[in-house]
């Protein structure tokens, strides 16, 4: 079972369907986080760019497994208490728009950092919950302003971003308070690249795993480019798509693109070998 569902699910099917995890009383970490990054004047913290420093990359480079493991565990331990994410399918993201309020469309800090995108081209992130009422206190976090959305408008935006190929994920801001619904891609998303490149689990795999039906797959390969997690490839021998289910993060982007309906999203828990692969 997913650790977070176990800890914070309280009988709900998923921890992020439990309305208590969006409650005002949980929202307290924002101030401390901002003051901390300000005090250090750390460009990486300010830009939301990197979760680990050069010491980790150097340890990896020289093959110091013990040091890599130490920094990794330290980083994950800290992030799981404050700010981490889990991948969602589009359906799950839609469902969340009916649980949390308000929902706002904001500019993406990661893409501002990695692409220098002008704000008007960068509205792909969603802030949600009571923290959004105070957005004007942190104009730098919300560069370009904030668009408050109705649940229906939010669903429409999520569908459009899905079409564009962006992965949906939900983030804690002081675990288990859920305050962000991000729509991301590799390598600009700090969470995706950190988990994919550095294997530090800032982003947890979702509750589904993509499964291909070889009978239905016609080899069109239109799904391949949708994967942001290196789980999809094309198998010329069979002329079909190939999904590495152990690498699959369960975002469902490949499934929403397949017009043969050859890819289904299977409950992770239903697959014994994958049930604990997060």
């Amino acid at each position: 079972m997913c650790d977070w569902c176990e800890k914070y699910g309280d009988g709900y099917e998923r921890w992020y369907f439990n309305p208590a995890n969006y409650a005002r009383r949980l929202y307290k970490i924002r101030k401390e986080e901002a003051v901390a990054s300000g005090a250090e004047a750390n460009p990486q913290a300010a830009g939301g760019m990197a979760f680990v420093g050069r010491d980790f990359i150097e340890a990896r480079d020289r093959g110091d497994i013990a040091e890599v493991e130490r920094i990794k565990q330290q980083t994950e331990g800290a992030m799981w208490l404050t700010h981490f994410g889990q991948v969602l399918t589009l359906e799950e993201a839609h469902k969340i728009t009916d649980i949390m309020y308000p929902i706002s469309l904001i500019s993406c800090a990661c893409r501002r950092s990695m692409e220098g995108l002008p704000d008007e081209e960068n509205f792909t992130c969603m802030g949600m919950g009571p923290g959004m009422y105070k957005w004007e206190r942190w104009p730098d976090t919300y560069r370009g302003g904030v668009h408050f959305l109705t649940p229906d408008e939010a669903k429409e935006v999520l569908s459009k971003l899905n079409k564009r190929g962006l992965v949906h994920s939900i983030y804690t801001f002081g675990t288990p308070y859920l305050g962000g619904l991000c729509n991301c891609d590799y390598p600009d998303c700090a969470a995706i690249r950190t988990v994919v490149d550095l294997e530090i689990k800032i982003l947890w795999k979702g509750h589904y795993v993509a499964k291909i039906d070889p009978e239905l797959c016609n080899g069109c390969a239109s799904c391949i480019h949708r994967c942001q997690f290196r789980a999809l490839s094309f198998n010329p021998s069979r002329n079909k798509a190939y999904i590495d289910q152990f690498q699959c993060f369960g975002c469902g982007l490949c499934a929403t693109e397949c017009d043969q309906e050859a890819i289904t999203m299977v409950e992770r828990a239903s697959l014994p070998a994958l049930a604990n692969v997060w």
């Binding site: 901002a34 990054s37 300000g38 005090a39 250090e40 004047a41 750390n42 460009p43 990486q44 913290a45 300010a46 830009g47 760019m49 990197a50 050069r54 990359i57 150097e58 990896r60 480079d61 501002r112 950092s113 990695m114 692409e115 220098g116 004007e136 206190r137 942190w138 104009p139 730098d140 976090t141 560069r143 390598p187 600009d188 690249r193 490149d197």
Partner: protein
């Protein structure tokens, strides 16, 4: 082998509007931050934006950023050799 990538912030005046190096790098090594943290009730002026090597472990040493920077503000070196 890991590179040392140095950006001269004095020369690199307004990276948020230039963003030439961010776009030109084939492996998305470079990213923007600010030299001040998030400030309450204040939007950070673009003059405080700085370029830093975020994913330097993905740097191949192609030197496209070094050659492409209109301000010649970027230096890349490997293994303590001469920086370009």
């Amino acid at each position: 082998m890991l590179p040392t990538i140095i950006v001269d912030d004095e020369k690199c005046e307004d990276p948020l509007s230039c963003r030439r190096c961010l776009i030109i790098c084939p492996t998305h090594v470079l990213g923007l931050g600010t030299d001040v943290g998030a400030q309450k009730f204040r939007e950070t002026d673009t003059s405080h934006f700085i370029v830093r090597p975020v994913r330097f472990d993905k740097c191949s040493g192609c030197m496209d950023c070094v050659d492409g920077c209109p301000q010649s503000a970027i230096q890349v070196s490997f293994g303590g050799g001469d920086a370009r």
